[in-house]
């Protein structure tokens, strides 16, 4: 659902040292994609999950989670229904 906002690509690269930095880069490069992930306060939307490798950043330092070279950041919308 988010790919339409970044030209259909599935992977983007970043050299940012933190998740916050990566999201800021995203805001510059793909503002409409960023708007789907974060609200205007910069917070990640409630139903969007951001993982660094296999860890949800909400379970750690949030978007201030540091990134190491080679880390994979996955943006995964929650799936719900009834």
């Amino acid at each position: 659902m988010l790919r339409v906002y970044c030209g259909g690509v599935t992977k983007l690269s970043s050299t940012a040292p933190t998740v916050r930095g990566a999201l800021e880069e995203l805001e510059q490069r793909h503002p409409s994609l960023h708007r789907n992930i974060c609200d205007e306060t910069g917070a990640v939307r409630r139903h969007i999950n951001v993982f660094v490798n296999t860890s949800n950043v909400r379970d750690g330092e949030g978007i201030d989670t540091t990134l190491q070279p080679g880390d994979v950041v996955t943006i995964l919308p929650a799936v719900s229904g009834g």
Binding site: D39, E40, T41, R46, H47, I48, D59, G60, P77, A78
Partner: protein
């Protein structure tokens, strides 16, 4: 007298556009757009070339304004959406109504704000790591303050 009547319907289940004859005796749901996304407000804007606007209030991906220039055959998101200034501290929680503004492009948006509150820290599990573990109660968080705000929005198409 118009040849046909267009009805734009916003529902919690999505946006529908219906069409009827000028007698208005019956309408046929002609097109369905964005099923599953609540649309709290829709506007048929007759200033100049008719356009249909709809507020797409997606709890997952945020608030957007959709625009149709072909009477509902297709909708596109406007390039910009109503939002609070970055340093304001509030986030848009809903778009309750869209109304025509003063000039041809302006939309009046009635919106609801959500005040950001600190998120509780990670829930910790109690116990010795063996057997059944119960999560501790969630951290106390101040209730969200909600209020409606009127704003002028100049969307970029």
């Amino acid at each position: 007298m118009p040849e046909r009547v267009i009805l734009s319907i916003g529902t919690k289940k999505g946006q529908f556009v219906a069409e009827g004859a000028k007698t208005r005796r019956s309408f046929r749901a002609a097109r369905t757009v964005r099923v599953g996304v609540p649309v709290y407000s829709t506007l048929i804007d007759t200033r100049g070339t008719p356009r249909i606007f709809a507020s797409s209030c997606n709890p997952f991906f945020g608030m957007k304004v959709l625009r149709s220039t072909d009477l509902g055959k297709s909708f596109k998101e406007t390039q910009s959406a109503p939002a609070f200034p970055k340093d304001d501290g509030r986030a848009l929680a809903n778009i309750w109504s869209i109304e025509p503004g003063k000039d041809k492009k302006e939309l009046l948006v009635r919106r609801r704000a959500r005040v950001a509150v600190p998120q509780p820290r990670q829930r910790r599990l109690v116990g010795d790591g063996r057997g059944h573990q119960q999560p501790r109660a969630r951290a106390q968080v101040a209730p969200r303050k909600r209020r409606a705000v009127h704003a002028h929005h100049h969307p970029r198409w």
